[in-house]
């Protein structure tokens, strides 16, 4: 009874569930990453996939764009990538006798930025500024980016030669950072046997309209309630990272906001009108871990484990 009422109050949830279902069916063994991507999309954030090449990052991004009916752009980052390669540039149009702006790959709903750490810092910040502002200013003219807008960036954590690792301040701009991981054994065997499914992705058709997606985003922002108790819990997590002896710089206020947004999106996906501590807890690691700056001598520390250990110390409000 309660559950049904909730669903009515959360518009377009069924369609998003269908998205999740379709994607999970198409990309076996990537359920969690898919869900995180959708969460990031609903919360209006961007996602950073941190994993070695060849685990299906691009496939995932492609599948997402197809199922969501989004336009898809892709940037393969190299050290000679220029900001203009991302945003687009003006070209002289001989017919009209004037410069015409040719939109770069940025002007897509879904942008896959592959190996973002190979780009020069100059190009990186151009991209990240666009991600944050949702606007691009080229030659004095400001262009709005399409809505919804989702950047799926990838980076390879192993290869460090010739890379420009994203500074922590830039990492803070990604709502969610997660790995993909190898698929389970059986599934991997199946994938190996049947080969790449890129071709099959062409068969996928959109299950949700852009308007519906925008409506869902709005519902996440406006319809999902974040109580004082859960806010308190969330704040305690943020505060705990700031006073932890192993962490030199804890979570920022933006991280707190992002965590709340992500928790809201999670609650929406679960069909709840309110956030529960479990939402926060579930998303704390993907939202928070990559933003932690550990002490200089703690380089090898697994940030996810560190954050999980902090979560274990914080009591969940039960009354």
């Amino acid at each position: 009874m309660n559950l049904e009422r909730n669903t009515q109050n959360l518009p377009r949830r069924d369609e998003l569930l269908a998205v999740l279902e379709t994607l999970t069916g198409a990309l076996t063994g990537k359920g969690r990453t898919i869900r995180l991507c959708v969460t990031a999309l609903l919360a209006g954030g961007n996602i950073l996939l941190e994993d070695i090449p060849g685990l299906g990052k691009t496939t995932l991004a492609l599948a997402l764009s197809r199922v969501l009916g989004l336009t898809f752009g892709r940037i393969q980052c190299t050290s000679d990538l220029l900001p203009a390669d991302i945003t687009g540039l003006s070209i002289f149009n001989r017919d009209d006798n004037r410069f015409t702006f040719i939109r770069g790959p940025l002007f897509n709903n879904l942008l896959l930025v592959d190996e973002i750490n190979r780009a020069m810092p100059k190009s990186q910040s151009a991209l990240l500024e666009a991600m944050e502002e949702r606007k691009v200013t080229v030659e004095g003219i400001t262009y709005d980016l399409p809505s919804p807008f989702l950047v799926v960036a990838t980076q390879n954590p192993v290869e460090q030669v010739g890379t420009h690792p994203l500074p922590e301040s830039q990492l803070d701009r990604f709502l969610i950072c997660t790995g993909i991981g190898y698929p389970p054994e059986e599934m991997e065997k199946k994938i190996i046997r049947h080969g790449s499914i890129r071709g099959e992705l062409e068969q996928l058709s959109p299950v949700i309209s852009l308007d519906a997606l925008r409506e869902a985003q709005q519902a996440v922002r406006e319809r999902v309630f974040l109580s004082e108790k859960v806010t308190e819990y969330l704040f305690r997590i943020v505060a705990a990272t700031r006073s932890h002896p192993l962490i030199s710089c804890g979570l920022s206020t933006r991280a707190g906001i992002n965590l709340a947004e992500a928790a809201r999106a999670n609650a929406y996906l679960e069909g709840r009108e309110y956030v529960i501590p479990e939402d926060v807890k579930e998303l704390a690691t993907p939202v928070g871990a990559h933003r932690l700056i550990v002490g200089a001598d703690q380089d090898g520390l697994d940030k996810e484990q560190l954050l999980r250990s902090i979560l274990r110390e914080i009591p969940v409000p039960l009354v």
């Binding site: 309660n2 009108e273 529960i276 501590p277 807890k281 409000p317 039960l318 009354v319």
Partner: protein, 646 residues
């Protein structure tokens, strides 16, 4: 982790032993053996979780009850009841370990201990009672948990916080306890078992002296009395009891002395004593030689021969005060009564009579004759002994001529007899010699084996003079060698405890209650508090709980309905699904993988209210309570708990 059932079982064991031990000397063999057997059997069976059938136990209990019901008589209604209590306690242990059963065990144990006070008012009772009450209190709280969940395990912290509840209750009850102590009436002697026969049967002190009645004198370390006074030289510790003035054969006894006697104590310092006489069957009171005035005990007559006699006999533990003059001489003149103290038995061995005449001739006055008797005794090389005593006919003759061994009775009675035969008025004085001084309590502890008999000789011109012929023995140093000892031994410390118990608790009577009221009243009148401070004083008891609450004491922390519901729910989760609640997990996380509609509904309703910042609606509250009670009725999880990997 602490297993609740083990804790409660241990407590039950302890409490029942505390009820059983004080009753041990008064029990019949059957319950005496039944309880330890039942305890051992339960200990052995505890691991195997094997229980004897309940119906069998009920039948057994009923049988025992009927058995003792018919044993109860008008003359002894208490004995069967006590035995029944212990037997039932034993049977209860064999039953299943439900909280109801445990409660019965605790109550029966308390009754057992209470019953023991009918027999004995030992200071240990306080210890037993204190321990039992503490355990009982803790156990009651633990039993409420046990009742909910018999297999519960508690963390150390949880257990400790649980303990604060009963301990806090105990703490709060102490002022009430003290208040009741002062107000409630009490009995100075056990209600049922009159102890009159326990101490006096083997008493060292008796109202007659008959040397030769036994071959040896048994040791009796029973307490005769305690005397609160300053510490005195051991040689002066003659505790005077009865004066024996009549000799018949070899038996010395007492009859009323001639009324004309008027003696006053000689010169000596005055020593005040407060005496605590153990209950006995004698009417005679003891006091340091020579006793003067007696206070604080009505109905005491001081005879002309300084014997303190109670008019009526009571089995009470008596307390009285005496001012004594430390002297061995009572000044005065005998005049006409002289003949009374010269009587000798008609039938007397010629040797004794002849020896008496020789002694009479050896001196011109009483003093010289007494000296001659001493010389004679010392010349005979007599030994003080408590074994191998002559107990044939003519024991005195044997003592003086052949065996030369005897205890104080031999020395004193032969001395007094020879003095009388020599024409010196003499009498025996029965009492005690020496005593152990307890530094802790500031009193002398005198045991029954310190009973002593000595002689008083009348010397014309001086009066009655104390003569202790036992000191003339060749081994006189051994006599009362421990006299005046004392200090700090463990047994003395234990005795001091008993003493304080008797003094402060047992003999605390109405008179002292009234005295206490008066004292408190006077003190309070003397105290002047500024206006308004009285209110403050009264507020303190009310404030304390609040302070405790601020201090974070969980027992006073009020919990809301919601909080209670959640606690109940978590307890049921643990019981049914074995889920351990951790503070970092929400209900949703805890119940993940449980496919019970009730559990899911509870979590949904609870979270829906809590995380939307509102309280539970009445109908939601009702539904949640319904879910909890349904869970409580569930004995085991409907299906084995399945936990999905998250």
């Amino acid at each position: 982790m602490i297993r609740l059932d083990l804790v409660i079982f241990t407590m039950a064991l302890g409490v029942s032993l505390l009820g059983y031990l004080p009753l041990l000397p008064f029990l019949e063999p059957f319950p005496k053996i039944l309880l330890p057997l039942a305890l051992l059997l339960t200990l052995a069976l505890h691991r195997r979780r094997f229980r004897i059938d309940r119906r069998l136990l009920t039948a057994g209990s009923l049988g025992i009850f009927l058995f003792y019901l018919f044993r109860a008589t008008q003359s002894d209604p208490v004995g069967p009841v006590v035995n029944l209590l212990v037997a039932l306690l034993g049977v209860r242990f064999l039953g299943e370990q439900s909280s109801r059963n445990y409660l019965q065990i605790f109550l029966l144990s308390l009754f057992c201990l209470a019953a023991s006070s009918l027999y004995s008012l030992d200071a240990l009772f306080m210890l037993y009672l204190g321990l039992q009450v503490v355990i009982f209190q803790i156990a009651l709280v633990l039993l409420t948990c046990y009742d909910r969940d018999p297999v519960a395990e508690l963390t150390r912290e949880r257990f400790c916080s649980l303990l604060t509840i009963p301990l806090g209750m105990l703490l709060l009850s102490v002022p009430l306890l003290l208040c009741f102590f002062m107000i409630l009436p009490r009995t100075p002697f056990p209600l049922w078992d009159f102890p009159a026969n326990s101490a006096a049967k083997k008493s060292g002190f008796s109202e007659t002296v008959q040397p030769g009645s036994a071959a040896s004198v048994g040791e009796n370390r029973g307490v005769a009395f305690r005397a609160e006074c300053v510490r005195l030289p051991p040689a002066e510790l003659y505790w005077r009891g009865i004066t024996l003035n009549r000799v018949d054969g070899t038996v010395w006894s007492r009859r009323e002395p001639p009324a004309t006697e008027r003696f006053v104590p000689g010169r000596g310092r005055l020593v005040s004593q407060r005496l605590f006489l153990e209950p006995g069957s004698t009417r005679y009171l003891v006091a340091l030689d020579l006793p003067g005035k007696v206070f604080a005990l009505p109905g005491v007559i001081r005879g002309g021969d300084f014997t303190l006699t109670r008019r009526s006999f009571t089995a009470k533990r008596s307390t009285y005060m005496v001012d004594s003059v430390m002297t061995d001489t009572a000044q005065g003149r005998l005049r006409a009564a002289r003949g009374f103290y010269l009587e000798t038995p008609e039938r007397l061995h010629p040797w004794l009579r002849e020896r008496g005449l020789r002694l009479r001739d050896s001196g011109g006055n009483d003093r010289e004759r007494l000296a001659a008797v001493e010389t004679f005794f010392r010349g005979e090389q007599l030994r003080y002994a408590t074994t191998g005593l002559p107990h044939f006919e003519e024991p005195l003759l044997t003592f003086l001529t052949s065996s030369k061994r005897g205890n104080c009775e031999f020395f004193a009675s032969s001395c007094a007899l020879l003095l009388r035969l020599a024409g010196v008025p003499a009498r025996l004085v029965g009492g005690y010699l020496g005593g152990e001084y307890s530094e802790l309590g500031g009193y002398y502890l005198v045991t029954q084996d310190r009973a002593h008999v000595w002689v008083e000789a009348y010397l014309e011109g001086t009066g009655w003079v104390r003569v202790d012929p036992t000191r003339w023995a060749v081994n006189a140093g051994e006599v009362g060698s421990s006299a005046g000892q004392g200090g700090w031994s463990l047994s003395l410390a234990m005795d001091a405890l008993t003493y304080f118990w008797n003094r402060q608790v047992i003999t605390y009577d109405l008179e002292r209650q009234i005295a206490l009221y008066n004292e408190v009243g006077q003190r309070l009148q003397g105290v002047t508090l500024p206006e308004g401070k009285w209110v403050l004083l009264l507020l303190i008891p009310a404030i304390v709980p609040f302070l405790l609450r601020w201090g974070g004491l969980p027992l006073l922390r009020r919990s809301s309905r919601e909080a209670r519901l959640v606690t109940d729910f978590i307890a049921q989760l643990r019981r049914l699904y074995g889920i351990e609640a951790t503070p970092d997990a929400g209900l949703r996380e805890m119940t993940a993988g449980i496919e019970s509609p009730d559990v899911g509904r509870f979590v949904e309703l609870h979270n829906g209210a809590l995380y939307r910042d509102r309280r539970l609606l009445p109908e939601e509250l009702r539904e949640l309570r319904g879910i909890i009670s349904r869970m409580k009725r569930c004995l085991s999880p409907p299906d084995p708990p399945r936990r999905t990997e998250v």
